[in-house]
């Protein structure tokens, strides 16, 4: 009898040990994998996280400056230390050219892409370079900020007016788009033509839609100085070379808030056009799970907060507060041309602008 009890006791002990062992083992396993919930928001299933960690790395191609992007993805890496993010940064059309080149060489390197132009993204979709993407946050993104199943915007870039507050004071300051047509600003406006990218195109499309065909004609009569990017516009206004500018916000934020330049930003009540920065996943990528995880994170509250904080951009999500120095999203009347309008009117608007302003 005692031997029976002893053996049953041994068996129980063994079972207990086994249970403890598997529990510990399970716990240990769970500890080595990061949580799929970040900042209270679930962005990935445990299987995805495990597969992503197995991938171990992800290659991000982005139109955002590499310093900024690095600062953003470092947050991702601290949440997911098992994944290393490499960043390749280039301006939109050149990034696009590079992606095409790699794809034709059969050497696609990018896993995740952040682009600046919906039309370029559409082209990539048509060329079958991208794959479907369905993040968990899809409902948080309003209709005009995504193409369901394909891309969602990683940031919103607003277009508004800036002026040098040492050169322009008080009542002289412009308050809206129609002020730009005031003769006192003739020859004193800095901006960029719609050919430089989606941001500028959206702005001109908005102005035409809102105020009719005559607006662009009258703006042309103001003889604004046209630059090939928004950064020099911000710089020249900050230096006082031009008192006012019509600009994309991401170019002026670092100077205004970051460097304390004497710029004041005006978000016209009539409307603030914006453009999107689609984030997409590539087909046939080498690290598909890590890619998906990174993209999901980017669209989460944590990721969006980081984007806003680093770049001064806006998030499309209303539950992400705006950057320091910027008014809240809800207070703005934002406007977006939409993919259909861009596709139909893209070249026509560019040609019209070129004719009116006498440029390429």
């Amino acid at each position: 009898m005692s031997s029976q009890i002893r053996s049953r006791g041994n068996r129980l002990a063994a079972l207990f040990m086994l249970a403890m062992w598997s529990l510990c083992g399970g716990l240990a396993g769970a500890q080595s994998l990061p949580s799929g919930t970040v900042g209270g928001e679930k962005i990935a299933t445990p299987e995805l996280v495990k597969a992503a960690c197995a991938d171990g790395q992800v290659q991000l191609y982005t139109i955002q400056g590499s310093e900024d992007e690095r600062a953003i993805v470092n947050s991702f890496e601290s949440s997911f230390p098992c994944i290393k993010v490499s960043v390749i940064s280039a301006v939109g059309p050149r990034l696009y050219e590079r992606i095409l080149g790699e794809s034709q060489a059969g050497k696609t390197q990018a896993d995740v892409i952040i682009m600046s132009d919906e039309s370029l993204v559409k082209s990539l979709i048509d060329k079958k370079i991208l794959r479907h993407f369905n993040p968990p946050e899809t409902l948080k993104y309003p209709e005009a900020t995504k193409l369901p199943g394909w891309w969602y915007t990683a940031a919103l870039s607003m277009m508004y007016i800036i002026y040098n507050d040492q050169a322009v004071t008080g009542s002289d300051a412009p308050s809206g788009w129609l002020d730009m047509l005031d003769p006192k600003w003739k020859g004193k406006i800095a901006t960029a033509p719609p050919t430089i990218g989606g941001t500028a195109w959206s702005l001109m499309a908005f102005l035409k839609m809102k105020y009719g065909d005559s607006y662009l004609k009258r703006l042309a009569a103001q003889q604004p100085k046209l630059y090939t990017a928004y950064q020099p516009v911000a710089q020249e206004v900050a230096r006082g070379e031009f008192p006012v500018g019509m600009i994309g916000g991401l170019a002026e934020y670092p100077l205004r808030v970051g460097q304390g330049a004497p710029i004041h930003a005006v978000f016209p009540k009539d409307g603030v056009p914006y453009t999107v920065y689609p984030i997409v996943l590539t087909a046939g990528s080498a690290h598909p799970h890590a890619a998906e995880l990174l993209a999901n994170w980017y669209l989460s509250k944590a990721g969006q907060s980081r984007e806003v904080e680093v770049r001064g951009a806006y998030s499309a999500r209303y539950d992400v507060p705006s950057a320091k120095g910027n008014p809240p999203l809800a207070s703005l009347h934002i406007w977006y041309p939409g993919g259909k309008m861009m596709a139909e009117q893209h070249d026509a608007l560019i040609n019209e602008f070129a004719t009116l302003f006498g440029t390429k």
Binding site: G65, L100, G101, K107, Q109, Q166, R239, K360
Partner: protein, 588 residues
């Protein structure tokens, strides 16, 4: 029968050597192949791409897309005449300015008794080290119509008018001052080699000083002037950095920048860019061919002559004004820009609108230096540029030596072709080389795309004219009989190279190494298509930061570049072996 000679039969020939100089032919074959891949292939791909609808990325050519449409779009575009006219016009005026400054300076430094002549001669080439990109940055800081430092100061003391660097005149001015040193080098060399008896003969005939300069000196150095003018024109019309920095402010569109812009629009117009690139190439290639004609195929090198130095022309009362003019140029081209950069680098806030704000001592601090130097992008860029410089130097010089030797010292067939191919890159704008390299190399299994190697190779291709000429110049000075006597004494080709040619050519090769490092550190346009954020190089980082408004960082980087190049050149001078004609310390 003549005494002393005996008829002996010739022994049956022993088949001693049937070699048809096989190693020689292999060498030149290899060199031609390398030159073709490095230089001809990228240009060829670009040419091809300009006739296609889809760019030949990764060497995939869609032959069904052959078209002239790209050229039609480019040439018949409404703005093309203005584009072409502006580029040609600015290159012309810039060249004229460079001619006047360069020749005047050369004459002052070599032939007159202007005070401080030696310093003037030594410092006349320093603007070359400034690099056009940094010069453009500095002149933007100095000469923007509203907020340029010079204009602020002028307004303060109520000087009428202002300078505007964002104009045609402003850009031509910057062109002229940074390209005058090329003219200086050519004219000074020519003036130094001039036989003084020619002017003396004119004086004997009764010509006044001025007349003898106009009638004798000028015509004699005319080939050097024409040649350098053509060279400067070609360099200016394909220049990217100055028009890219100073053009937008005045809405001035230049050909070279337009190529870059076309790829920067959405969607990128790559094929039109290549068509425009070909247009530019046609212009530059024509001019280079003309220049070769003028030189009669010789390269214009300074022969270190032991010739008599002609007696300096006495300037008399004009001594001081001429000295002011000469040193004034150095001040304007070098001192003033660097002063502006130092100023910007030390300022905490870049926003000043009057002199009081400029000299406000509270606004100064060295924080910007620390911040810039610890910036990871800057550090990466610096490291990359040093690596690229080293790679270009070493691989370039190895290749250039082999090429220069084959071209000059052998009679191998095909060496004229090799010579022609190595001159080609002068006519090819850096942007074109970069784009061509991108298309040509991206699909090759060697996998250099995305690494520093593709930049190094592009540079080696781009600088082959300078490298082969520089090393060629040092080879020319070695009398062929020095090599022949070595061969007759029993040395093989390798032994001759090792014991005779290399030691004698070494000072010239060393100078070429330094030159190549400087050129590669400065270069911008070529790398613009080839860099990635891992392989970003110093000049590209500066350009990128400038375009994003980080002016302080750019100023610090410009100073860092100046320091590095200065150290390098100085170390190069110090490390040179003593000149050959000094007695060698020997054993008793």
């Amino acid at each position: 029968m003549p005494p002393g000679s005996s008829r002996r039969t010739i022994r049956k020939p022993k088949r001693h050597n049937v070699r048809r100089s096989l190693p020689g032919r292999l060498t030149i074959g290899a060199l031609l192949a390398i030159a073709a891949v490095l230089i001809v292939l990228p240009v060829g791909i670009l040419l091809l791409g300009s006739f296609l609808i889809e760019p030949p990325r990764a060497l995939h050519v869609d032959w069904s897309g052959l078209t002239l449409r790209n050229y039609a779009e480019v040439l018949f575009d409404r703005t093309f005449p203005a584009l072409l006219g502006l580029s040609l016009g600015a290159a012309c005026v810039g060249t004229a300015g460079a001619l006047v400054i360069g020749t005047g300076l050369a004459w002052l430094a070599v032939r007159s008794d202007v005070p401080g002549r030696r310093i003037l001669e030594a410092s006349a080439v320093t603007p070359l080290f400034v690099s056009p990109l940094i010069g453009a940055f500095a002149w933007e800081i100095l000469g923007s119509p509203q907020s340029g430092i010079l204009n602020i100061m002028a307004r303060e003391i109520h000087l009428p008018g202002s300078i505007n660097v964002y104009t045609f005149g402003g850009i031509c001015f910057v062109f002229a001052i940074y390209y005058a040193p090329y003219v200086f080098l050519f004219s000074a060399a020519s003036l130094r080699n001039m036989d003084p008896v020619l002017e003396e003969a004119a004086a004997m005939c009764g010509a006044s000083r001025l007349r003898s300069v106009l009638d004798v000196t000028l015509p004699l150095i005319a080939p050097a002037l024409v040649s350098s003018a053509l060279l400067v024109f070609v360099l200016l019309i394909e220049l990217f950095s100055i028009p890219a920095v100073l053009g937008p402010g005045g809405n001035l569109n230049f050909l070279s920048v337009e190529i870059w812009n076309l790829i920067g629009v959405t969607p990128p117009k790559v094929n039109e860019a290549s068509a425009l690139g070909v247009v530019l190439l046609v212009i530059t290639a024509t001019l280079v061919l003309v220049q070769r004609r003028v030189l009669g195929g010789r390269s214009f090198v300074t022969v270190a002559g032991k010739g008599l130095r002609p007696t300096p022309v006495k300037l008399g009362g004009a001594r001081l004004p001429c000295a002011l003019a000469g040193f004034g140029y150095i001040a304007v081209a070098v001192v003033l820009p660097y002063a502006a950069l130092v100023f910007i680098a030390l300022r905490k806030s870049l926003y000043f609108s009057n002199v009081a704000a400029i000299v406000d001592s509270r606004q100064f601090g060295v924080g910007q230096f620390a911040q810039t130097l610890s910036d990871p992008v800057v550090q990466t860029a610096l490291r990359n540029s040093m690596l690229v410089g080293a790679g270009t130097m070493i691989f370039g010089c190895l290749l250039y030596f082999a090429m220069a030797y084959v071209i000059q010292r052998t009679k191998l067939p095909g060496r004229t072709l090799l010579d022609a191919i190595t001159t080609l890159p002068i006519a090819i704008p850096g942007l074109i080389i970069g784009l061509g390299f991108l298309w040509a190399w991206i699909s090759l299994p060697i996998g250099i795309y995305g690494t520093l190697w593709i930049i190094i190779l592009a540079y080696v291709a781009q600088f082959s004219p300078q490298g082969v000429r520089a090393i060629g110049a040092s080879l020319i000075q070695i009398h062929p009989e020095l090599e022949e006597s070595s061969r007759v004494s029993g040395a093989t080709m390798t032994a001759t190279l090792r014991y005779i040619v290399m030691p004698l050519a070494w000072p010239g090769i060393f100078s070429a190494l330094v030159l190549l490092f400087v050129l590669s550190f400065r270069e911008l346009a070529t790398a613009l298509f080839l860099y990635t954020s891992n392989t970003i190089i110093f000049s590209v980082a500066m350009f990128d930061l400038w375009s994003r408004g980080s002016t302080s960082t750019v100023a610090v980087m410009a100073l860092v570049q100046a320091a590095i190049l200065l150290v390098f050149v100085a170390a190069g001078q110090a490390a040179r072996r003593p000149p050959i004609d000094q007695p060698v310390k020997g054993m008793p």
